[in-house]
Subunit: 174 residues, 2 copies
């Protein structure tokens, strides 16, 4: 087991500022590119991360601490953010993600004592019993997978442009 | 063809600040983790990016403009940075990368006129003729592939920790 509360928070607190450094001010072709029909562009990934802050990570952690295995988590709708119609800039969305994340890290620190809570369990609707420390680890890796997705989607724009170098660029292998 | 000088520079100028936001101040287990023997940790990826700024991108662009196809690029040693013995902090390395990148973007803007130079060619030691716009596109995608590598290496640390969620986390598929 590698996860610790301190090191997990190191990543959770860096993700919003990392994505802000990367995406803020970019021109639309970068923000709106995707990998084809039914795939997400970088802006949609940020909306998905916002949705997770609102309805997934902390609500599930609270259920583990409060309800244990007495009732399953409500399923997380991974497509909920695609309903969002509000016209907001990427900078506004990044700011919302940052604010929600700061609040959620504060809640996490208030709620969870690694010594006594890490092995507590809740019921995932698909997986059955899951531990608090697995939920925390997943929150971190979920950030990492979506950072990887954003850069992969953007690399796709230049798939043809790189010419023969495609062979050396792992991100274009698929 | 998607590449433009303006949009390529948007990524090139964001990479150092993005990596600084993500890696600066992290504790050593994150900076020193890798994917097994012979693979790079996040710190080594930064050293490789520094090496590219010194010996790869701008020197090759200058050769295209000056020498055309009259002589091949010297090969880029992708492992040169592993010789680096100087004990420097990650923050010092990130700062060096940022400084070199700023200088190289300034040189790029000074050297390259997209209207007249994009189709000029040089000789890659393995691929043969390559165009200036392909070199520029590759510089961008090379940044993206190494950002993806860093987050993938870090996700690997929590491969077991996420428990059953592994199934939902694309970054752990391999």
């Amino acid at each position: 087991m590698n996860v610790t509360l301190k090191e997990a928070i190191e990543i959770l607190e860096r993700t919003p500022q990392t994505l802000e450094s990367f995406l803020s001010g970019l021109s639309n072709p970068w923000l709106e590119c995707n990998e084809g029909d039914g795939t997400w562009n970088p802006t949609e990934v940020i909306e998905h991360l916002i949705e997770g802050e609102k309805t997934n990570w902390i609500p599930r952690m609270e259920m583990i601490l409060r309800d244990g295995e007495s009732k399953p988590f409500p399923p997380f709708d991974r497509f909920a953010h695609l309903q969002e119609n509000a016209e907001r800039t990427i900078e506004q969305k990044l700011q919302e993600f940052k604010t929600l994340r700061q609040q959620n890290i504060a809640k996490l620190q208030e709620l969870v004592d690694p010594e006594t809570h890490f092995e507590l369990t809740g019921i995932h609707p698909a997986f059955g019993p899951v531990k608090a420390r697995e939920l925390l680890s997943t929150w971190v890796v979920h950030d990492l997978t979506h950072i990887a997705q954003i850069v992969r989607v953007m690399a796709e724009r230049y798939r043809t442009d790189v010419g023969p170098w495609k062979e050396y660029l792992g991100i274009l292998k698929k």
